[in-house]
């Protein structure tokens, strides 16, 4: 069946080619960048944000394609056209979730775009756990995967704690300095086994953040959920976190690990519901156990430290939506998105922004489709859905968020 003629990323290329990584989460991806370097890859994280990214996206993908794909393809084509890279010595990387959402097809859109721009020699590496595509020069080793889990957990922790500090810091820039310091330190640790000394690292991280001088004022807390790229990527959501902080609110973002665990959980469910892929199910179970265990260690560290709010672990999150939506809903962010909204409300964050690309199919079901029921059961909840696409103006988005914030502030004063 493998008769497609895509360019494989070969073992030789591992030595010669620089892999360009699209950015989604600042801290996580800087750690992942070093992870890849430590595994012998030449990589560069694309941090570009200029407007031409959108232009290239609009030119190169179908206009009904959703915004994350447009941005990622745009960012990559923009980089390749910048002249900074030797087109014969550069490769691209993209995730492929393999679910029923069209996101699984984005890698093909990228290849099409490469072809249309006469750059078909550039290999594109698919990161997926379904064996959709393989590359001899890019393999997941056990060590690689362990490192990846920790890269994500550290990233999640830094993001989680940083968001509890930034809105309250007395000296602008203090938190960012700690962010930078620890992102770099953890990234560097990827080159040696020292990233595994989690207890020590967690403690030091927590102490550093605690040491930032902060005010005690009470601020509105706003949860951000949504399609994964829109939820996290500042390029996609017009720097939503920064905007919220500017408006005097505290952003609350759950971690990336939950999404990875959600993908594993779906493999288990596929077997339970449809009796398919028993091997995957077994592997996924093992993975899940490891993920949740590792996440728990981090959560325990925060709890023990006692100065910061604690996140829920995946096992707590995954049962949140059981009265709302079946876990059979596994496309896109699926039941996890509904669960995350409910988790926020349960933990006292009634204000939620649901970010989604305009016309996102799974979100018709799991986000907008569930909002009425949530509102009925939690009248005090204050949820707003924001659509993103290349034509949407920020003023319209901000205005809607401001309305949500006005209500949040009024509720807080009550």
């Amino acid at each position: 069946m493998q008769q497609d003629n895509r360019v494989e990323f070969t073992q030789e290329m591992k030595k010669t080619h620089t892999i360009l990584i699209p950015n989604m989460l600042n801290m996580h991806f800087e750690i992942i960048e070093q992870l890849l370097i430590s595994e012998g890859y030449k990589v560069e994280l694309l941090k570009t944000t200029h407007h031409n990214i959108v232009n290239e996206g609009v030119k190169n993908v179908h206009n009904d394609t959703c915004y994350p794909a447009l941005l990622v393809v745009g960012q990559m084509i923009d980089a390749l056209k910048s002249g900074k890279y030797d087109l014969n010595k550069v490769a691209l990387i993209m995730t492929q979730t393999g679910g029923g959402c069209r996101a699984s097809n984005y890698i093909h859109l990228l290849r099409k775009a490469l072809k249309n721009n006469g750059m078909e020699q550039v290999p594109v590496i698919s990161v997926n756990f379904y064996g959709l595509e393989t590359n001899s020069g890019f393999k997941f080793t056990y060590r690689f995967l362990i490192k990846a889990v920790y890269a994500i957990i550290y990233g999640d922790m830094l993001m989680w704690i940083s968001n509890q500090c930034k809105p309250y810091e007395l000296n602008a820039g203090d938190t960012e300095a700690v962010d930078k310091k620890w992102t770099k330190r953890i990234a560097d640790q990827m080159h040696s086994p020292s990233f595994l000394r989690v207890k020590r690292n967690y403690k030091a991280i927590l102490e550093d953040y605690e040491a930032i001088p902060k005010s005690n004022e009470e601020k509105v807390r706003v949860g951000i959920v949504g399609e994964i790229y829109m939820k996290y990527s500042p390029l996609g959501n017009n720097e939503l976190e920064k905007f919220l902080i500017r408006e005097g609110a505290e952003p609350v973002l759950s971690g990336l690990l939950d999404f990875i665990a959600y993908c594993c959980e779906n493999m288990v469910l596929d077997y339970d519901l449809y009796n398919i892929n028993k091997v995957n199910r077994n592997l996924a179970r093992i993975a899940l156990r490891y993920l949740v265990h590792s996440q728990n260690k981090m959560i325990k560290a925060i709890k023990k430290h006692g100065k910061f709010k604690v996140m829920s672990n995946f096992n707590e999150v995954k049962v949140m939506a059981k009265d709302y939506i079946s876990k059979g809903v596994k496309m896109g962010e699926g039941w996890l998105l509904t669960s995350e909204m409910l988790e926020l409300i349960h933990s006292g964050v009634n204000n939620v922004i649901c970010t989604q690309p305009f016309g996102c199919l799974p979100n018709h079901i799991v986000a907008k489709g569930m909002m009425r029921k949530i509102k009925d059961n939690y009248p005090e909840s204050n949820v707003v859905a924001i659509d993103y696409d290349p034509g949407a103006s920020t003023i319209n988005q901000e205005n809607r968020i401001k309305l949500m914030l006005s209500n949040a502030k009024m509720n807080m004063e009550k």
Binding site: M1, Q2, Q3, H51, V58, K59, H62, N63, D64, T65, C66, Q96, G100, R102, S104, I107, H108, L109, R111, N117, L273, Y274, N275, I276, I325, S326, G328, V329, K330, M331, G332, L361, P362, N363, H364, I365, V366, K368, G369, M370, R372, K375, D376, P379, E380, D387, P390, G391, A392, S393, I395, N396, E398, N399, R400, K402, L403, S406, N407, M410
Partner: protein, 981 residues
Amino acid sequence: MTYKIGLDIGSTTIKAVVLDEQDNVVYKSYERHKSRVREMALEKIIELKDLLKDNKVKVAITGSAGLGIANMGELPFVQEVFATTKAVKKYHPKSDVVIELGGEDAKIIFLKGAVEERMNSTCAGGTGAFIDQMASLLNVDLETLDTLSQNYTKIYPIASRCGVFAKTDIQPLINQGAQKENIAASIFQAVVDQTITGLAQGRRIEGNVLFLGGPLSFNKGLRERFIDTLKLNEDEAVIPDMGPYFVGLGAAIFADSNNESYSYRQLLDALTRSANTKVSQAGLPPLFQNDDEYLEFKNRHALAKVDHTELRTYNGKAYLGVDAGSTTTKVVLMDENNNLLYTNYTNNKGNPIDVVKAQLEHIYLQNPTLNIASSGVTGYGEELIRQAFHLDVGEVETISHYRAAKHFKPEVDFIIDIGGQDMKCFKIKEDRIDEIILNEACSSGCGSFIETFAKSLGYDIIQFSQMGLLGKNPVDLGSRCTVFMNSSVKQAQKNGATIEDISAGLAISVVKNALYKVIRINDPEDLGKNIVVQGGTFLNDTVLRSFEIELGKNVVRPQISGLMGAYGIALIAKEQAPVKSSILSMKDLVDFSHESKVINCNLCTNHCSLTINTFNDGKRLIAGNKCERPIKGETNFNIPNVYSFKYSKLEEYKDIKGSGHRGEIGVPMVLNMYDNLPFWHTFLTSLGYDVVLSDKSSKAIYNKGQHTIPSDTACYPAKIVHGHILNLMEKGVKQIFYPAMTYNFDEGISENCFNCPVVAYYPEVIEANIDLDNTQLLYPYISLNNRKDFMKKMRKYFKENGIIISKKEMEEATEKAFIQYDKHKIEVEDYAIKALEYAESEGIMSICLAGRPYHIDPEINHGIDRLITSLGCAVISEDSIARNSEFKKLKVLNQWTYHARLYQAAKYVSTLDNCEMIQLVSFGCGLDSITTDEIRDILKVNDKLYTQIKIDEIDNLGAVKIRIRSLLAAMRNRGEEDATR
């Protein structure tokens, strides 16, 4: 005294309210700001000088355009919905729901129970600006529109999602001569529907409803539509005197809670500062670097011209061409040497017949002895005008345009025509039209859009477009639909962009829209070497220049750019001249009169609304018909149509009953049920259920469930599910069976066999958004690909829901269901084979109408299949052919069963002569953004034409007809050439 000022600066108007210390309203105003927002805010305060000058003032600014002003002047800002809620709670505490419509915003506030505030999302019309646009389309002012609407006799269905759609619905009504009263009321109804689906999203609007904002305060007709639709009684509908100013009032109240107060001087200074702030923003480069460039441009385009001949003294043969377009009517009168005797380009003001009549009279008056040797008509209003004036030739507009373009550039290989409403591109290969690309309903920000915009900013179009040439920093407005551009312009205004820069920015957006959204070019070289641009929009030099800059090459714009359709049809009329033209003479014209009336066709259950035009000679023309029945009667129905075959096959299940000992169970006829019904019906019947199917889809069914739809951007086939479920509940069923199916049948033609997320999980939306009362919704997560596991899981599921089914029962039912499913499939395939054989033996063309199983629902496809058979082509479907042909890996990840069928069908069609494919795409279908490109590629490689038709709840077969006729013309053309080779 401390006065409280609320300034509400919206997208189109500025409202000011001043309260005294006792909260009495001492001043209020409501004015259009024509985008001079910061200046108007300042002028307002200057105007209030006498009142305020010796007092303290508290102030709050609100509104979508107010934020920038507040920031620049460092004045307090309050979010507008929040402000409204404040005022409502103070002045109308008994309100349960507030509906506020503004220029570009629509809001609903629910006050009873859980307080909820909703604003229209980024893709939504149905607001004041939309009403303005529609009024100018009808060529009446707002007051007249309102008066007209109160005397309606009939409401037409008009798409309520966004202005662009509505416009495509309204235009054919105008062209068909429907009464303005009815159109006016229908426009208001569309706004109401939009508010209900777009904003209420599943929450019912009931109790005391407060109507706020300009449009609702000024338009009685609109309010009546709301009151009617929401079934409110007189006491429940509240229209406060302060309606238009209410948000400003809320801001004034909010101002009171501010600690800070200002002296008049301070306030004046703050607003002056804001008015004088220069906002720097990264604009686009100007259109001309210097005067020389401008001169070169002007001179070059002056060359593509046609000479004129004096009409009064002309005594040779003359040829008339009429292009009855969507918003304009164009007339060309040509002499024997193809020179112009007379031309005219008129906005048809909603009545093309009157325009053509006046033009003909005018021509005859200038030259009473004129010999019109032949005449032709093209465009939207082709049938109407041809019948009315007895013209000789009618041709589809695409062909007319090509004919005219060839006249200016014989070697033309690409034509792009941007008219008021439509954008059309043709690629020409070997002297025939190779590919036709028309704008999809969602990106039709075309010429009339610029014109409406110019008007709303207070300029006429010529003035406005000339200003664009001078733009120094054209604003970057994105390139989506009108609604999006409106808010981008709003943002630009907020940032202080000049009208020149906005005009240039709009032109650039239209061009980008055309190039990247409609034609979807990657490389300007794709368009070919010889490009002719035409259509009224290119008369706008700013658009023309933007186009050349964006392409990086020069193009030909004939001087009669706006008249190309008419000129083309005149040339065709000349070529096909009859012995004697049948066109109405001067004398006939004097007696000419016509009237139109609307009736409902009763020949089938669709009850289409028909407009009947009757002319003074007794001739009648029926418009608005979806099939040929009302015109041709019951005959001529032999042409095979797989769509109607499949549909009638499924209808037969309504009469199949088994023992029914387990009682009734409802099954909604929606989405994948159009594919899986034979399976589930047989399965349930065999288990002893009496299966009750929901009724045929209709607008009425859709409207029934409209208020429970949570996401207004979902596709129409999904949104109509709500109505079907309610329909089943009305039938009294206690159980509804609607399985959730992540996986579809694995047909061995794809790498995975998913359903799309909407098809797979819609039962969840139903469960969460419809009050099911005592009805039990059974929606097992089930796959049909492992029979043993299926039986196990189904028994378990039934058991969990208190229904015990024995192993034997389950085995029997499953066996029967699979057999029936296969039988149905084979019947359909056999029918399709016969259809193709019939087409071949009769020498007719066939069309593979490729979509999803649910596209056979006539309410969803709007009768496109019957339209095709009425044009003499057989219709086959994507799932009736090539199901068993070999599966080859594609460039894209082929993992959805329904989509895999499309690819298979495209490959199969490629092997057939005299068969082309038309892809049906439901608006909002995200997956089809993948399939459309792939199918286009498959067809193109095999030298087939690609045609895509986007469908939604709108019912606009006029445009579809043009596309299909163009396709048929291209097919014929191709066939003839093959024959001569």
